[in-house]
């Protein structure tokens, strides 16, 4: 085990797969010479050279169009869209081409492509560079959607995404790049579609994703020590495929479900989980399902306003205290 930052784990995961398979290539804006605008691809150009690690112009449609073509001819490209907000620029290629080609060609073409992108807020970047858009991706059939919360999960899930035969959108969280954690040495591959139970409690079950996971864990500690409420915390990790088995099992034990979501409220991923739980576990629920989300607004850039919108530890604690009885 080595202690790596979340951003170092990104580079470690990419390097592991590039060493294993020469068809794995990396392209994107500033991913090569600059080592990534978030420094998540440092050292890859030196190790693998300019043919396999390529800088591109500022043209997201070109990045994903090139990556899709490469994937159709047998390569396994990793394409970076610097900010997930910019997926909107190239959404036709993502939603209409990449997601659908396997189906429309009756399986004659596979698209083994990973789109890495920096997602989420908390960095005062304003409304066009801070969004959590994992629910956009989740809404398109044909895409897999992954969003890790720890360095170990970054490395293992990134490797699994590269090896997957279908397109995966891999959401890295901007506010987590500096966080540190133990990461297994050597070849490490995780499994897509498996949630992780990080903490077991008896009163409520909190389901969270990405940056909301460490906040949910902190909130669970405070709920236990200061308010006598014992919480389970589940890290969803993968929205598509979704590990309903783990989520249902944990909700059934406590009878209460809270989702903590950074995406704006309307049609956020927690709405889908809530509807599944209501449908499948109605007779095991001991109270209303409660969603804790960012409100349905464009995110402000001002520190105090951004902090007031994205679910915080205090907001999670307060909401659960008020509703868990």
């Amino acid at each position: 085990m080595a202690k790596l930052t979340y951003r170092e784990a990104v580079a470690a995961g990419i390097a592991q797969e590039m060493r294993r398979d020469e068809n794995v290539v990396l392209i994107g804006e500033d991913v090569a010479a600059a080592g990534g605008v978030f420094k998540a691809t440092v050292g890859l150009l030196d190790e693998f050279g300019p043919k396999r690690v390529r800088d591109t112009p500022i043209a997201e449609q070109a990045i994903l169009g090139a990556a899709m073509g490469a994937a159709m001819t047998g390569m396994r490209p990793i394409a970076e869209i610097m900010f997930s907000d910019f997926l909107a620029v190239c959404w036709d290629i993502v939603a209409n081409q990449i997601a659908k080609t396997r189906y429309m060609t009756n399986g004659q073409f596979e698209i083994p492509l990973v789109i890495r992108t920096a997602n989420g807020g908390g960095s005062r970047f304003g409304a066009q560079h801070s969004q959590s858009v994992e629910n956009w991706a989740m809404a398109i059939p044909g895409l897999k959607v992954v969003a890790p919360s720890t360095p170990a999960d970054v490395k293992g899930l990134l490797a699994a995404a590269v090896r997957d035969p279908d397109p995966v959108i891999f959401f890295e969280h901007k506010a987590l790049y500096a966080t540190k954690g133990e990461v297994p040495d050597g070849e490490y591959v995780d499994e897509l579609g498996k949630a992780k139970v990080l903490r077991q409690g008896s009163d409520v079950t909190i389901v969270a994703l990405a940056l909301m996971v460490p906040r949910a864990l902190k909130a669970a500690e405070l709920l236990e020590s200061e308010h006598g409420i014992s919480a389970t915390v589940v890290d969803v990790r993968s929205l598509v495929p979704l590990d309903t088995q783990t989520i249902f099992a944990e909700v059934e034990k406590t009878g209460r479900l809270y989702t903590v979501e950074e995406n704006p409220r309307l049609c956020g991923w927690g709405a889908e989980i809530s509807s599944l739980v209501a449908e499948e576990l109605f007779y095991d629920l001991d109270g209303p399902i409660v969603r804790i989300t960012t409100p349905h607004i464009p995110l402000p850039a001002a520190d105090n306003l951004e902090d007031a919108t994205i679910p915080s530890v205090e907001k999670i604690v307060q909401t659960i205290r008020e509703t868990a009885g």
Binding site: Q200, S202, D203, K253, G255, Y283, L285, D286, G287, G325
Partner: protein
């Protein structure tokens, strides 16, 4: 080691723990009786498979769980007491009966604090738990927001009325609902299963009942001649029942559609005759143990088998395979003096016969002579899907012919 709900018979899917003979903390010897379990038709004691300390009981008395569910944990010497439990199962002390847990009424102030429309605010899981444990919301004081009863409140109440943080109290006993006085008696498992089976049978089969009057003088002659010696030798009385059972087997040989099961668009005729004999368990329930291959047995064999099965039934010692696989049923109500009974078919069979009082009556014989004879009515309910009235009547007529025309003394020797 986990103690599991055993599989008592091939078709049994769940069982009810009726009694624990050990408490948590008690030492347990291998093969020592640990608990008693009740299934569909059988109550049996289950021994420990391993020696150790009973560290936890997870399923309390009165609870019904699926086969294979962890009921308790036996820790071996040296094991951590909690080492082997399944985390998913909540640790529950043996559930105390609500009546037993109820002696202390909650302080009046507490009761008033609860909202009036508690029922309307129960969560789905609380409703489910109340139903499972046969509780009513009035018995439990809620600790949740606005006095709401939470899942934890119910679980705590079930564990022994302690309540969450000493908050949940108990109000009085329970009754049969608003406006009703008198005791409420929850159904026993066997009562409920019998009820379900009867309703299902009436919904399944097109019941028709026919009755025939029979002169039992030939049977009576055999009983008079051999009854005393029989009792001496066998230790129990020779009743009419084994003779009727033998006659049924002989009549079925001529009318095989009576010994059958409706399957889809056809009738499955059973090669063997497995006679189920309904036995009352002191008004506490009904069970119908089965005489296998009754068609191959003599009157004497049938008498011994009926006596053995009835004894086993009354002592709760029937094995699951002794209560399944019947192809025709006899129900005997004679001891109470009833004239006849219209029985409900024991599914998936197509006919059932009721034996009622056989008593001495004046009858008119051939040539208008009057004689005193042992007369009884045999009533058979049959499934009109399987056979028509004429066929069933012909079967009864044949049955009468066999009973009245056989030299039963010769059969007994």
């Amino acid at each position: 080691m986990n103690v599991l709900m055993p599989q008592l018979g091939e078709t049994v899917e769940e069982g009810t723990v009726t009694e624990w003979f050990k408490k948590p903390g008690d030492p347990v010897e291998k093969n020592e009786t640990l608990f008693e379990v009740e299934t569909d038709k059988v109550t049996t004691e289950v021994p420990a498979l391993k020696a150790g300390i009973l560290s936890k009981i997870l399923v309390g008395e009165g609870e019904t769980v699926d086969v294979g569910t962890v009921l308790a944990v036996i820790a071996s010497e040296g094991d951590e007491a909690d080492g082997e439990t399944d985390e998913a199962a909540p640790a529950v002390e043996p559930a105390t009966a609500p009546e037993a847990a109820a002696p202390t009424p909650a302080p009046a102030a507490k009761v008033e604090a609860a909202p009036r429309d508690k029922e309307a605010r129960l969560s789905p899981v609380v409703r489910k738990l109340l139903a499972r444990h046969n509780l009513s919301a009035d018995q439990i004081t809620g600790s949740g927001g606005g006095g709401r009863i939470t899942k934890q409140d119910v679980l705590a109440f079930v564990e022994g009325g302690a309540g969450v943080e000493g908050d949940a109290g108990v109000e009085g006993g329970k009754d049969g609902g608003a406006g009703s006085t008198g005791d409420f008696k929850p159904f026993t498992k066997i009562r409920k299963l019998t009820g379900d089976h009867m309703l299902r049978s009436l919904a399944t089969s097109a019941h028709v009942t026919q009755a025939i009057e029979i002169d039992f003088h030939t049977v009576d002659a055999a009983r008079s001649a051999h009854g005393a010696a029989w009792k001496e030798e066998q230790g129990f009385s020779l009743t009419y029942l084994p003779f009727i059972a033998r006659a049924i087997c002989l009549a079925i040989a001529d009318y095989p559609n009576i010994n059958a099961t409706v399957e889809g668009d056809g009738l499955k005729l059973h090669r063997d005759i497995n006679l189920a004999v309904a036995v009352d368990l002191n008004f506490e329930g009904l069970v119908a143990p089965v005489i296998r291959d009754a068609g191959l047995k003599s009157v004497a064999d049938l008498a011994r088998e009926i006596n053995r099965l009835a004894g086993a039934a009354r002592n709760g010692k029937l094995t699951p395979d002794e209560v399944t696989g019947g192809t025709y049923t006899i129900s005997n109500n004679g001891s109470f003096g009833t004239l006849f009974t219209t029985p409900v078919i024991n599914q998936p069979q197509v006919a059932i016969l009721s034996v009622d009082k056989i008593g001495r009556k004046p009858v008119v014989l051939e040539r208008d002579e009057i004689a005193v004879r042992p007369i009884g009515v045999l009533a058979q309910s049959f499934d009109h899907r399987a056979v028509d009235g004429a066929y069933a009547a012909a079967f009864l007529s044949r049955l009468r012919e066999i009973i009245e025309g056989t030299d039963w003394s010769a059969e007994l020797v």
